[in-house]
């Protein structure tokens, strides 16, 4: 009896310490050891399908463009046949194909997004995620960038008050409480410059405008047809002040800027034309081409001025192009060439300091800038030597003051000129001695 009690107690203790599965495993192990026979709950077949089966399945999925599933099947095949280099090579190659496909669709998606083809962009980002489910950037576009924002951000300018911003953004200073509420401020809080504020965008339905938007839109359309572009701008900008998301007003504004730009181009006023084209959204049809044409015309003008050695004017024209097309390498080349040529002229005029000053404005990585800078230093050394020898001549003619002046000039050009330093010192001590003798 005692023994039975003890066995029961031990079993209960075992149960409490190991849990159900533990007890079951404990007995399972004993059963397995006692008999090689499998329990009746064991699977009917413990044979595992060969790696080739999974390899074949992987091939089928890959053919059907289900690359992630194909990868799983390949990984299983690799697990079943770990020594197969062929399978491991296939895994690596498939992973690389997945990355490549995802990358391609993502890049296409970004291009569509930038050109405001949002539905096409969404399709590309979804395809990216299908190939690479962990693609964070594609997910970010789908979940954030492709949704309209309910806020605009505003960077506080010097001396801005919340009331000013309310007036600027909502055309209504009394909406200051709204800005304070969404930015955890008080209406009289002082704002630090460059603070970013969140301003909810109010639809015209709740931010009742003092203008009749549809009537104003019709007016702007008529003005556009009559080619009264500055007036179109005035009306469309007024609509956008009240309804910043009004697409029709944006389209009209873009059309007006574009047309004004074309007119200015026709009058060969390319700098002003570029200014107008810059104000048009880049996806507006024809604007990029018109901007490029204006840039090319201005570049030709800058090149011509450079040929005529009118460096300042050439640099001014080229600088304006860069305002609109920062990465234009032809303009960058022209600017650096102009600086180099200006510096060379200054070398000829022996104005080395100014030459170095001009070169400091150029890009030091340019070959011509490197070479011209080196030439300035060589010329300076040569000129220092000329002054040194002149000094020697004066010294031999017993013109000590003149000799010192020449050597000092040599030192200005080449502060490391040891002989000049030494000779100045000797000449000065000679002068002292002569003074005493006299």
């Amino acid at each position: 009896m005692k023994r039975l009690f003890t066995i029961c107690f031990v079993l209960l203790v075992l149960f409490f310490f190991t849990g159900c599965a533990g007890v079951w495993e404990f007995f399972g192990d004993i059963a397995d050891k006692l008999s090689e026979k499998k329990s009746e709950k064991a699977p009917e077949s413990t044979k595992v399908l060969p790696a080739s089966y999974y390899l074949e399945k992987a091939g089928q999925y890959e053919e059907n463009e289900e690359l992630q599933t194909a990868l799983v099947y390949l990984q299983i095949a690799g697990r079943l046949d770990p020594d197969s280099t062929k399978i491991h090579e296939k895994i690596a190659s498939l992973k690389s194909a997945i990355d490549q496909k995802a990358g391609q669709h993502f890049t296409t998606g970004v291009t569509f997004y930038k050109t405001r083809k949002f539905e096409d962009a969404r399709k590309q980002f979804l395809t990216t995620l299908r190939y690479a489910p962990g693609h964070k950037e594609a997910l970010d576009y789908l979940k954030n960038a492709l949704h309209p924002k309910e806020y605009r951000t505003y960077k506080v300018e010097d001396k801005d008050t919340i009331k000013d911003i309310s007036e600027k953004f909502y055309k209504d200073p009394s909406k200051e409480f709204l800005i304070a509420y969404f930015n955890n401020l008080k209406t009289d809080s002082k704002l630090a410059s460059d603070t970013m504020l969140k301003l909810p965008i109010l639809e015209p339905e709740i931010n009742r405008p003092s203008i009749h938007i549809s009537a104003e839109l019709a007016k702007a359309e008529t003005l556009l047809k009559e080619k009264r572009y500055p007036e179109v701008l005035g009306v469309s900008e007024k609509i956008l002040e009240y309804d910043p998301l009004n697409q029709k007003a944006s389209d009209l504004k873009n059309a007006a800027y574009y047309q004004i730009g074309l007119e200015l181009s026709g009058q060969k006023n390319y700098p002003e034309a570029m200014k107008m084209f810059k104000k048009v959204t880049p996806v507006y049809q024809g604007v990029n081409e018109a901007m490029q044409e204006a840039i090319n015309k201005e570049l030709l003008k800058a090149e011509s001025l450079l040929k005529q050695k009118q460096y300042e004017q050439a640099l001014a024209v080229a600088g304006k192009i860069l305002d609109y097309d920062k990465s234009n390498t032809a303009v960058q080349n022209l600017i650096n060439t102009a600086f180099c040529q200006q510096a060379r002229n200054l070398i000829i005029r022996k104005n080395y300091t100014e030459a170095l000053h001009v070169l400091s404005k150029a890009d030091p990585e340019y070959d011509c800038v490197k070479k011209t800078t080196s030439d300035v230093y060589t010329a300076k050394k040569k000129q220092a030597e000329v002054h040194y020898l002149n000094g020697v001549k004066h010294f031999l003619n017993e013109e000590l003051q003149s000799a010192i002046k020449e050597w000092e000039k040599a030192l200005v050009l080449n502060p490391e000129h040891q002989k000049a330093k030494k000779n100045i010192s000797n000449a000065r001590s000679l002068l002292e001695k002569l003074k005493k003798v006299k």
Binding site: C8, A42, L139
Partner: protein, 337 residues
């Protein structure tokens, strides 16, 4: 002596019986027999050989710690039934969180009910028989009625859902939901969310807080539909912008706090009255910590929908099964390659 021996016998008997009971429980729940046949491919997949005792649910319980996730195994292996001896791949994670396929993407319909009536449909009421028939249709046709939390997990690209998932919601807080819909939902084991506008609670045809508490304790999700059910997207006649703003602030903050206090559960979703919203409302919802909000745009929801504009399909009036089927779109065709 004899008495003490009898007592000892009785105690031993009880201990032995207890042991047998516990052990019997273990035998029915412990599942170790796959261990001899399973192959762990990596942290994400295991291959097992199916036994005669296995079901999708038992395999999901064993490997995914969640018997309700049998569908995940079925969907990965593209099978609907199990055969003893077959090899199965068990995915240990959500392998397709967005429900993306080469031919398109998953969408989740959210059904929006209002009132129920015993036999007369109305502008906002559906009859008991129609509702019953709709629930039966969902069950018979393999739809998975999921919770709002599961839907939000899907919209956050965190959780995979069964291919045929659907959400059931009720608006306003009508007593008929408690009297008619609740028993039917319980019969089918379907979860649901009830969006209440708190000024309605305790009114003539509305549920009381006791009803709502009972629903909440029974596992139904209680969320918010503002305080007074005003249209949040427009100013009332002669209402100033400041008055409108103050009203929005109250409609959004007050019911959230009240529901959370009454039910001791988080309230983080809102159904827009009349399905209408605007930027200011959404900005305010975000400020008050709402996770999501619902319109009634009659569309199904992909994972990438704006979480503050989740669409629902309203169901009221005479609603036969043919009409109902049209609301259950679970996939959007689009070539994704």
């Amino acid at each position: 002596m004899q008495r003490s021996a009898n007592t000892r016998k009785t105690i031993s008997g009880i201990v032995f019986l207890l042991f047998l009971l516990l052990f019997a429980a273990c035998i029915t729940s412990a599942r170790s027999y796959h261990k001899i046949s399973e192959i762990r491919v990596n942290d994400d997949f295991i291959i097992v050989t199916v036994t005669t005792k296995d079901t999708f649910s038992s395999l999901a319980a064993e490997y995914l710690n969640d018997p309700s996730k049998g569908w995940l195994i079925a969907e990965f292996n593209h099978i609907k039934t199990l055969t003893a001896g077959q090899e199965l791949i068990i995915p240990l994670f959500s392998f397709n969180k967005g429900g993306l396929k080469i031919g398109g993407y998953q969408t989740v319909p959210v059904l929006s009910y209002y009132r129920l009536s015993i036999n007369k449909p109305s502008k906002i009421a559906i009859t008991q028989d129609d509702f019953k028939a709709q629930m039966k249709y969902l069950k018979d046709n393999g739809y998975h009625v999921i919770t709002l939390d599961q839907l939000l997990g899907f919209l956050d690209y965190q959780e995979q859902l069964p291919e045929k998932s659907v959400v059931i919601t009720f608006d306003d807080g009508w007593i008929s939901v408690y009297d008619i819909a609740l028993p039917i939902l319980k019969e089918y084991g379907f979860p649901a969310t009830i969006f209440i506008y708190t000024d309605f609670v305790g009114g003539g045809k509305a549920m009381s807080w006791n009803h709502i508490k009972e629903l909440s304790q029974a596992g139904f999700d209680i969320q918010c539909q503002t305080k007074t059910h005003r249209n949040l997207a427009v100013l009332k006649n002669k209402e100033s912008f400041r008055e409108y703003f103050d009203s929005l602030e109250m409609e959004i903050s007050y019911p959230k706090k009240l529901i959370e206090t009454k039910l001791n559960k988080e309230c983080n979703c809102l159904a827009y009255p009349y399905g209408k919203t605007n930027n200011l409302v959404i900005a305010m919802l975000k400020k008050h910590g709402y996770r999501a909000a619902f319109t009634v745009d009659n569309k199904s929801n992909p994972f990438f929908i704006d979480k503050y504009k989740i669409s629902r399909s309203p169901i009221y009036g005479k609603y036969d099964i043919e009409k109902f089927k049209n609301k259950l779109s679970v996939f959007q065709d689009m070539e994704l390659k």
